[in-house]
């Protein structure tokens, strides 16, 4: 694969962090904040999202029929439909249309004005038209800035998001040499308006994209804020709309949820300034700026008297072409994993919600055309896997985008699938023997060694724990770090976890196992029962299996002990069996077959406990997320549901116990207003599990303040990797900046805790460590 080396990738990311990052972060995070606010204020948001998704599912299902329906409708309106197989096909067709509608003077260049369209970016339409001697001007201001700067879009909605105002001013002053140099956005915009206004009025052909195409009426919907799409569509007498076949929806009423949600998800506006629904050719008279003194209504025969208005044939001067682009989409439709990508309405919410995107923008987190979380699906589908492989690893699987996406696409899953496919396409490497012994995975040789190492972290941890402290000492030694960096890409600046000789499972066994736990739990409930007898409280009657995830079991054993003590104090006896890995680590590396096998093993190991009505309690949110989200794809439906319904995050579980009458005084409580900064965890937030932890902290006498930074930036193995280390720190600093003034900082996730400890240079425990009887690290 002609992919960048680690060092090249690291250099590129560092460069983007410095040059484009600040402008991207300012815009993307502001859009994301507005989206969240607007989503929060929309009562029927969930039903809108559900409707939108259902319409897309149905439309993609019926796609071949819809293409025929729209062809009939557009032809009946007096326009033409062309289905293009690929970029070359589409470009050739558009060039023909433009040349056929060029200026009367054969020697003059035909001219085209365009409104923003990612689909035309996908096929490099501008280059193709220019190669034919056609003059092309972008009229969306962002796109035009890029055209002047000879740059490429860095965001699917705000293409020039990475360029700051002073940079635009410099660019324009140099290029257009105005009498008074441009400075303000107002001056720049005025200039653009006048300059582009003239070009639009002189153009021979207007080209637009389409946000949606209504099949049964032949209506194209254009969603914009500027008004340029309207001008491009209705000013020249020839209009070409280029749209991917996935933009088709069956009927006008299907458009409603999309009109309602697209601006909310894209920019957080309730609705866009202009939602243009055209069933071209339209009745609107064309504007002939070469004949300025003719009344506009005199152009088309039979139009001035208005008789054509109602029969749908439009102004006779008008010509309309709908170019429907396939370019890999039919294959995506057949691909069970990539099909969902076609539901995407290109709102960019996944980009805005992504912490890594906010730092590097679409030039880092993007392929040939598309950028952001869903770009992996698009690039793999329309440009091929190599384009997706370039940036796919920038998705850390945090799932922020899952809540943002208006059509509920499981974007991280698409990223995992493509990562898996990329892994499989690699050639075997000579270093494979290095990790072979440590990697009981079911992957074929040849995948990235670092990925294979992290994907098998459970085995690595077991070995390291068995050999601790020697393994820790070794791992910290300079020469070993250099080897780890060279072979596995583990950045030497990152602290490695320190493995404990005695695992949580060992500790629990030595302590007397479940028999002792039961005694302790019964002791606590007796005390509670005595208290309850006085005030009539309820009894708690449950049993818990605490899941010893790799990190809790071998590295942060203390948080495991704290969880055990907390549960016992609330009257719940605990078991801590030696359980298989959840598959989370393998999934992060795109090793789906390995994860699949691990999921089955874990389910098998837990089946009896589930049957016996025991609750599975999980400390690490990412492991819980695997069970609650990804297992749906890995286990039979019944098994998946059984485990999902029987498993809980530790603080969510404590919340449930307290709600059911357990006594918070059995825990370490604050004085009622003890401030604590709490960072939940990306995946935990997607599972709506931030609130229970906050509630528990509150009922135990703390005053938690939650962070609103997108992510800690480390997201497991991601932050260990040499090429991503600096990006991980850049993201982490935004979080650290929010919590650094707090005396106590707690975090639910392993990576979040590690990252914060590095950045804040102090202890960042799990909330359960704060709550456990005896308190933190006692």
């Amino acid at each position: 694969m002609a992919q960048r080396t680690r060092t090249e990738q690291a250099d590129r990311i560092r460069h983007l962090l410095e040059t484009e990052g600040p402008a991207i972060h300012a815009h993307a995070s502001a859009s994301n904040a507005r989206r969240k606010e607007t989503y929060g204020g929309t009562d029927d948001l969930e039903s809108l999202r559900t409707d939108a998704r259902a319409i897309k599912e149905d439309a993609i299902d019926r796609l071949p029929d819809l293409i025929e329906t729209v062809r009939e409708a557009v032809e009946e309106n007096g326009g033409t439909v062309y289905v293009a197989d690929d970029a070359a096909d589409a470009n050739a067709y558009v060039a023909d249309v433009v040349e056929g509608n060029g200026p009367a003077d054969e020697a003059a260049e035909p001219s085209v004005v365009k409104s923003k369209s990612m689909t035309t970016e996908e096929i490099d339409l501008n280059d193709a038209l220019e190669a034919e001697g056609i003059d092309v001007t972008e009229t969306d201001l962002g796109e035009w800035v890029l055209q002047v700067a000879d740059d490429t879009p860095s965001h699917i909605v705000g293409p020039a998001m990475h360029i700051s105002r002073p940079e635009i001013a410099d660019l324009f002053n140099e290029r257009f040499d105005p009498d008074d140099p441009f400075e303000t956005a107002e001056e720049l915009t005025r200039f653009a308006r006048d300059h582009l206004g003239e070009i639009i009025t002189d153009a021979d052909v207007g080209i637009t994209g389409a946000n949606f195409v209504v099949a049964d009426s032949g209506t194209i919907a254009l969603v914009t804020n500027e008004g340029n799409a309207r001008k491009c569509a209705v000013t020249p007498d020839t209009h070409v709309a280029v749209a991917g076949i996935e933009k088709l929806i069956p009927t006008l009423s299907d458009l409603e949820p999309f009109v309602d949600i697209i601006a909310k998800s894209a920019t957080g506006q309730p609705i866009s300034q202009y939602v243009t629904m055209l069933s071209p050719p339209t009745d609107s008279p064309t504007l002939d700026f070469d004949a300025p003194d003719e009344p506009i209504t005199a152009g088309g025969e039979g139009v001035a008297d208005g008789t054509e208005a109602a029969d749908g044939t439009g102004d006779a001067d008008r010509d309309f072409h709908l170019v429907l682009l396939d370019n890999g989409r039919t294959d995506m439709r057949e691909d069970d994993q990539l099909r969902e990508t076609l539901y995407c309405i290109r709102c960019g919410a996944c980009s805005n919600s992504c912490a890594n995107f906010q730092s590097v923008g679409g030039h880092g987190f993007g392929g040939e055309t598309y950028s952001g979380g869903i770009a992996t699906g698009w690039e793999a589908g329309v440009h091929g896997q190599e384009s997706a492989a370039e940036f796919n690893d920038l998705c850390t699987g945090c799932t922020n985008c899952v809540d943002a996406c208006p059509v509920k696409i499981d974007i991280p899953w698409i990223n995992t699938v493509v990562r898996d496919r990329v892994n499989r396409s690699a050639e075997a490497e000579s270093y494979d023997f290095l990790v072979d012994g440590l990697t009981p995975d079911v992957e074929e040789g040849g995948m990235d060694l670092g990925k294979r190492f992290f994907g098998n972290i459970g085995t690595v941890a077991k070995t390291a724990s068995a050999t601790a402290p020697v393994s820790n000492w070794l791992a910290d030694a300079g020469p070993v770090r250099a080897v780890l960096e060279r072979t596995l890409g583990i950045d030497r600046r990152r602290d490695l976890p320190s493995f404990q000789r005695k695992s949580l499972v060992d500790w629990f066994e030595k302590r007397g196992g479940e028999a002792v736990s039961k005694k302790r739990a019964v002791g606590s409930s007796k005390r509670t029962a005595q208290a309850d007898a006085r005030d009539g409280g309820a009894d708690v009657d449950r049993e818990a299996v605490l899941y010893p995830d790799v990190y809790t079991n071998y590295v942060d054993v203390d948080r495991g002990k704290a969880a055990v003590r907390t549960l016992e104090a609330l009257g719940v006896p605990v078991r801590v069996p030696d359980l298989p890995e959840s598959g989370r680590a393998a999934l992060s590396q795109g090793m789906i077959a390995t994860a699949d096998r691990q999921a089955s093993r874990l389910y098998a190991a837990l089946a009896e406990d589930l049957d016996a009505g025991r609750d599975v309690v999980v400390i690490e949110p990412s492991d819980l997320a695997a069970m609650h989200r990804e297992y749906e794809r890995l286990l039979p439906e019944d098994s998946y549901e059984r485990l999902r319904d029987g498993s809980y995050e530790i603080c969510e579980y404590v919340y449930g116990l307290l709600e059911n009458g357990a006594d918070p005084d059995a825990l370490s409580t604050g004085d009622g207003s003890q401030p604590v900064a709490y960072h939940s965890h990306c995946q935990q937030r997607t599972l709506d599990l931030e609130a229970p932890t906050v509630a528990v902290l509150e009922s135990c006498g703390y005053e938690p303040e939650t962070s609103n930074a997108e992510c800690c930036g480390m997201a497991g193995s991601f932050g260990y990797k040499q090429e991503y280390y600096e990006l991980s720190m850049d993201v982490g600093e935004r979080l650290a900046g929010q919590v650094e003034d707090a005396e106590t900082v707690v975090a639910s996730g392993t990576s979040c805790g590690d990252q914060l400890e590095t950045l804040l240079e102090r202890d960042v425990p799990h909330p359960v460590e704060l709550l456990a009887p005896g308190g933190h690290r006692s």
Binding site: L141, G142, V145, G158, A160, R165, P166, I168, A185, E186, L188, T189, A192, R193, T201, S217, T219, N225, E226, G227, N228, R230, K231, V234, T235, L252, S253, E256, V259, D260, P270, I271, S272, Q273, Y274, V275, T276, M277, L278, S279, T282, D283, S284, P285, L287, D288, A291, P292, D293, E294, I296, T297, V303, A304, G306, E308, A309, A310, D311, G312
Partner: protein, 168 residues
């Protein structure tokens, strides 16, 4: 109900910094005259008893559209929830007249103000059935932040006024 809808419409327009006036049809001409900046172009109003002021040029030439500072057009209906007006593509040029001049004055019948997007889509569907199948939902003023800050009136109007004609 109607009173509520109108109130909601007015508040939405206020949030969008769009002017709002409610007048009797017979007074429309006079009120429009106080709002327009000349030169002004327009499309004639299909509402009973309402007419454009004399100074507004209908059936304009291309040059007149380009030079105009105000475009006055009827709109098919309006959506109170979002402060949206539905501009139709008609043979007498409502679409370019509403788009090119810097100020758009949209005139709508009070009975044409519907409460929410769903009701708007019902009206839209009725229009489509009758062959009026090219419509723009215009909400507020044309805007862009592409030059680094929010600026209004890029390609579309930077000022918008809505006049609601009271039902008799």
């Amino acid at each position: 109900m109607t009173v509520d809808t109108l109130g909601r419409f007015e508040r939405a327009l206020e949030g969008l910094e769009v002017g709002f006036e409610r007048v009797a049809a017979a007074e429309a001409s006079e009120r429009i005259e106080t709002i327009v900046e000349h030169p002004a172009v327009g499309a004639s109003l299909p509402f009973e008893g309402a007419s454009l002021p004399d100074g507004v040029t209908t059936e304009p030439t291309t040059a007149e559209i380009e030079a105009a500072r105000t475009g006055v057009t009827p709109v098919a209906f309006a959506i109170a929830e979002y402060g949206t007006v539905a501009v139709e593509s008609t043979a007498d040029g409502v679409e370019p007249i509403s788009l090119y001049p810097d100020r758009h004055v949209a005139v709508v019948a009070e009975s044409g103000v519907v409460p929410n997007l769903s009701a708007g889509f019902s009206r839209l569907a009725d229009g489509f059935e009758a062959g009026r199948d090219s419509v723009v939902f215009a909400t507020g003023r044309s805007a862009t932040a592409d030059m680094g800050d929010l600026v209004h009136g890029v390609h579309g109007p930077g000022n918008v006024d809505v006049i609601v004609l009271e039902d008799r």
